[in-house]
């Protein structure tokens, strides 16, 4: 059933696929991010409780969703690498990791900047914030482990184990932190509940979500492309690639 996927395990094919997909992802990302952000900042109505500070939602929520989505994608790539012994799967994993880490950082930072006016503190040990912080550590762990090995195939296998172990732990961490928080702090934090959000507020959010997803996709593809070339330096097709790019540069 997954047979159609197998040809893309070959680095050269994967490189070509990246090359084909990248412009599409990049275009969607730029267009949706511009539309979503302008709409969210200028045209969406202010929240009746939080005023204009709620506009942070247009980057906070998409980045938070993508931080977790990217982690799952990274772990799936790692699992694929382990099961089918694909080198490209590990390359995909390590291409996604920094992008996911950046998403996590954005979610944390915007959360803090939103929390200051709403809760009166830059940081509260809220369950979601705490598990997001741990998620950042998990990303950093995977990246640091990968960086520590000289042999990058070995590095991919090792970091893959941590990525998969992490994905098993993410739900456990999330629920344990939630439980810990409710035990300790109870209702001191008035959480921003999910109101039935008005459509004119929701649309820019969805557009920005699409934009962030396309952004994550585009950057991951770009990094995957670089990673593939880096890892295939000794292969003839990379030599051809370099020769072509040189020829193009000379023409210009």
């Amino acid at each position: 059933m997954w047979k159609w996927l197998h040809p893309y395990a070959k680095p050269e094919r994967a490189y070509q696929l990246c090359h084909t997909l990248l412009p599409w992802f990049a275009t969607v990302a730029v267009v949706s991010l511009i539309i979503g952000t302008v709409w969210g900042l200028v045209f969406a109505p202010a929240d009746y409780q939080q005023g204009d500070s709620f506009r942070i939602i247009y980057i906070h929520v998409p980045s938070a969703i993508l931080s977790m989505g990217a982690y799952v994608a990274m772990a799936i790539a790692a699992a694929v690498g382990m099961i089918w012994q694909w080198r490209t799967a590990y390359m995909t994993m390590i291409a996604i990791a920094p992008v996911g880490a950046v998403m996590t950082f954005i979610a944390l930072f915007t959360g803090a900047a939103w929390g200051k006016p709403m809760w009166g503190a830059w940081w509260v040990w809220d369950a979601r914030l705490t598990s997001e912080l741990i998620l950042l550590f998990l990303y950093l762990g995977v990246m640091a482990l990968y960086a520590a090995f000289d042999d990058k195939l070995q590095a991919g296998k090792a970091a893959g184990v941590m990525a998969v172990v992490g994905v098993v732990n993410v739900p456990i961490i999330h629920y344990s932190v939630e439980w810990w928080n409710t035990l300790h702090q109870g209702a001191t934090i008035s959480k921003f509940g999910k109101p039935s959000i008005a459509p004119e507020m929701l649309w820019p959010l969805l557009i920005n979500l699409l934009g962030f997803a396309a952004f994550v996709g585009a950057i991951s593809l770009m990094r995957l492309r670089n990673e593939i070339v880096q890892r295939e330096l000794h292969r003839p097709w990379v030599a051809d690639l370099v020769a072509n790019s040189n020829a193009r540069a000379e023409k210009e």
């Binding site: 184990v161 172990v165 344990s176």
Partner: protein
């Protein structure tokens, strides 16, 4: 003699030959705990309030100190290679190594915990809860730690990396363990927390052997 019994015998003999390596994490554990009364003040109420967390945090930190020893020497000397070439299940042999590591590094910690309970003014129910969480939680620390040590054993600079990999994974354990002891402090039942830790331990026990074996294989590469 079966290869498993032979390994266990060897591990125990060699562990007790490096007495300083055995005792150092334990001393570190006690030292960290004595810092807290000095840092936050000696008021018995405060100590009792923070005691469970302090003991568990110190236990996790001191375990990180000795964790590397789990596979480091045998990897560097080449004994893991010889183990991989014996007529036995590698997974089983590695689990025995984890067991012997737990016996020599965590059992002493459980044994001296009454002393620390005294230092931090814990009540008797809290003490029993502490024992229960340590008894169930420390094998979990060993098993999860073995995965990360297996992955990092081939690297020369494992130290901080190991902490970065492991501490996030130990957070649920820390939360449930301290919460159990706090429940005990308030004379509340702490069965649920213990049950959750036990469930975590059983899940880890079922899954970690494969992960540890895979991790060591990656390092033997």
């Amino acid at each position: 003699m079966s290869p498993y019994a032979a390994l266990l015998k060897r591990e125990m003999t060699l562990a007790f030959r490096q007495k300083s390596e055995l005792i150092q994490p334990l001393v570190f554990f006690v030292l960290v705990i004595t810092l807290f009364p000095l840092g936050v003040g000696p008021s018995p109420d405060i100590l009792q309030r923070i005691g469970p967390g302090v003991i568990w945090v110190a236990a996790i930190l001191s375990s990180l100190l000795g964790m590397e020893r789990l596979f480091r020497d045998d990897f560097q000397h080449g004994w893991l290679e010889q183990l991989a070439l014996s007529d036995a299940s590698m997974t089983g042999l590695l689990m025995l190594k984890v067991l012997s590591h737990w016996l020599v590094s965590f059992v002493p910690l459980v044994i001296i915990s009454p002393l620390l309970a005294l230092l931090l003014n814990l009540t008797e129910p809290m003490y029993w809860a502490l024992m229960a969480t340590l008894a169930l939680g420390t094998p979990l620390v060993s098993l999860v730690g073995a995965i990360a040590v297996g992955l990092t054993v081939g690297l020369n600079r494992g130290g901080v990396l190991l902490a970065l990999l492991l501490i996030p994974l130990f957070i649920p354990l820390l939360i449930f363990a301290t919460s159990a002891i706090e429940s005990a402090a308030m004379q509340l039942p702490y069965g649920p927390q213990i049950a959750i830790i036990a469930a975590l331990l059983l899940t880890t026990l079922a899954l970690s052997p494969f992960a540890i074996n895979y991790a060591v294989k990656v390092s033997l590469h």
